[in-house]
């Protein structure tokens, strides 16, 4: 079944490149470690047999799209496709630049061959946008206890929340892997890199580290698809999802918005309503 999908992806990619419908195909190839797959970029139709599909294709390939000018064929599972929708909404890439090779996803697994936490609660395994679908759609189901961990966190006192935040973020080594793995962290110049004015100190001072992460996480409201790219990338095992999921839950409960499902629906960060519940916005 899986090999069939790889073969289909290869065939589609070869055709796209041969017919010059795209300049490049972004997909996955075999990684160098056991239980690994790695992003690959193919321009030559003769190279398309490198493309694979398996349960290690966890990277969110939408991360490679912002600000590209060429025509791209891209392999996309559910979460990648939702990030693509966000990038189209935010004008980081044009729909007509993309040929989306959608692949329904059964959930990805980690180095220890266990499913990722975020895959277990995923409600959008099938790509929400695609030009061709590889394989059969998988059954979707609502996950009742999706926000179980967030709800536990919400019940904590303010000081306990802060303590947790401090203990998690004190692990940070400022390698920027979380930001750089995130498809929606595409700012040309991130606020932590700005010097005039400088918003954030340059050292590993905890207060600066917290400022960076809170800034980044707040900007993910209505933009994070819970694809897990940040937690997968973090070399220090920081539990970012505790915070990003809270923001995702807020976007859903306060604005009835779920990230990346429809290009034509305005995300909460780009719109306001006259009948907004809160006065300060008017």
């Amino acid at each position: 079944m899986k090999d069939m999908r790889a073969k289909k992806i290869q065939d589609i990619a070869r055709k796209l490149l041969k017919e010059k419908k795209v300049d490049i195909v972004i997909g996955f190839e075999k990684g160098t470690l056991p239980s690994s797959a790695t992003p690959c970029f193919i321009r030559n139709p003769d190279q398309t047999d490198r493309l694979i599909w398996n349960s290690f294709c966890g990277n969110n390939l939408a991360n490679y799209l912002p600000k590209r000018k060429d025509k791209i064929g891209i392999v996309a599972k559910g979460c990648d496709s939702r990030s693509i929708v966000v990038l189209i909404q935010e004008k980081q890439i044009k729909r007509e630049q993309l040929y989306i090779i959608g692949v329904p996803c059964e959930g990805m697994i980690n180095k220890n061959n266990a499913p990722h936490d975020y895959c277990l609660i995923c409600e959008h395994k099938n790509p929400v946008i695609y030009d061709v679908l590889v394989g059969e759609k998988v059954k979707e189901s609502k996950k009742k206890d999706k926000y179980k961990e967030v709800e536990k966190f919400e019940k904590k006192s303010a000081s306990d929340k802060w303590k947790y935040l401090e203990s998690e973020l004190s692990k940070c080594i400022r390698c920027n892997a979380c930001r750089n793995a995130c498809p929606t962290c595409y700012c040309k110049e991130c606020f932590i890199d700005q010097e005039k004015p400088r918003w954030v100190g340059t050292t590993n001072n905890l207060s600066d580290i917290i400022f960076f992460h809170l800034g980044r996480i707040f900007h993910q409201a209505g933009r994070c698809t819970d694809c897990g790219a940040c937690v997968r990338a973090c070399p220090m095992n920081i539990d970012f999802r505790q915070f990003t999921q809270k923001i995702t839950k807020d976007a859903k409960t306060l604005f009835d918005y779920e990230t990346g499902l429809d290009i034509d629906i305005k995300p909460p960060f780009t719109t306001f309503k006259e009948d907004d519940k809160q006065d300060f916005i008017k």
Binding site: L33, P39, I173, G201
Partner: protein, 337 residues
């Protein structure tokens, strides 16, 4: 100096003694993974580790290091030195790859114009290694002139035998640490040799590094760089976890008239690393940045210090979020025409 023997049951007493005299850092199990951290007793340590996630370079070149403090005054600036740490540091359980990285850092920071901040810390530290009987799947020290029992950069090397450790003292200053211990028998030494051979067998070189420096001499404009960088996400994991990467940036952290001059780790993978004040960036894309990473490690450092800037610890291989494997990059370079 003769090899010594320490029974595993006596390790606790040995560590207790060390803790009295030194701040002892050793592999400790934490949420992040196994980290080199301060220990008070033997139970704090985790000795079933392949390697620590953080390298020991942070004890010589901390991620953020205060150099001096200053206060801006009307006619002159008041400058205060940072107090030196009094107690000596001892690192226990350093893998031979990290030891080798220290030997390389020593060349960079102590030869020609010594770096006083590095020198102070280097003189205040003892490095006790632990040989690798069972190298990990990402280890490739033997491919870059190292070895699982290498003693370079170490003051002593422990080899784990069945119920005991064989200790190979290297630096004179280690003598007194082991003076009270029994001398190793020929049988123990032979057994350690056997383990060394076994570990070596597990670590067959994955490429032939000989000649890479000369090969890279002619590759600055090679089309190969075009094929390497595309999936790189420009994060700093590879350089920050690397025991040999040592690039830094100097910044003034100020509040009002007061400030502190700090030096922070920097990374050639970051787009801002070479950004000029004019706005020009001589390494405008990840292509040039990856070329620099490879050239610095396998050409420039080899030429300037005689050593490679890679010790084959495998941290970058294991932790790169997109599996951009430096072993594959080197293989591709070595096999290219």
């Amino acid at each position: 100096m003769k090899e010594k023997i320490l029974a595993k049951k006596d390790l606790s007493e040995f560590i207790n003694k060390l803790v009295k005299e030194y701040d002892v850092f050793a592999p400790v199990k934490k949420d992040e993974g196994i980290l080199f951290s301060k220990i008070d007793k033997v139970d704090d340590m985790c000795l079933s580790y392949s390697n620590t996630k953080n390298s020991v370079k942070e004890f010589l070149l901390p991620q953020s290091e205060a150099l001096f403090r200053f206060v801006k005054k009307e006619n002159s600036n008041e400058i205060t030195d940072i107090k030196k740490k009094k107690r000596r540091n001892l690192l226990f359980g350093v893998r031979p790859c990290d030891g080798k990285a220290i030997a390389m850092l020593d060349k960079v920071f102590l030869e020609n114009i010594p770096d006083s901040y590095y020198k102070n810390k280097r003189e205040n530290i003892l490095v006790i290694g632990m040989a690798c009987n069972e190298p990990d799947q990402t280890c490739f020290c033997t491919s870059v002139d190292g070895g699982p029992f290498s003693t370079e950069g170490l003051d002593a090397l422990f080899v784990e035998l069945k119920e005991k450790y064989l200790i190979i003292p290297i630096a004179k200053q280690c003598g007194k640490l082991f003076a009270h211990l029994d001398t190793a028998s020929q049988e123990d030494i032979n057994y350690a040799e056997k383990l060394k051979k076994n570990a070596g067998k597990m670590l067959k070189p994955v490429f032939e590094i000989e000649g890479i420096k000369e090969k890279l001499d002619g590759m600055f404009e090679s089309p190969i760089w075009e094929t390497i960088y595309q999936k790189c996400t420009k994060c700093g994991i590879c350089t920050y976890l690397c025991p040999a990467c040592h690039c830094f940036d100097v910044q003034d952290e100020t509040v009002g008239e007061k400030g502190c001059r700090v030096r922070n780790w920097d990374s050639c993978m970051f787009p801002k690393f070479t950004l000029h004040a004019s706005g020009h960036n001589p390494r405008p894309t990840q292509r040039e940045r990856w070329r620099q990473r490879i050239m610095h490690k396998f050409n420039y450092l080899k030429e300037n210090t005689g050593l490679y800037g890679c010790v084959g610890c495998g941290r970058c291989v294991e932790h790169c979020p997109v599996n951009l494997d430096i072993r594959k990059v080197l293989k591709d370079i070595l096999e290219s025409k």
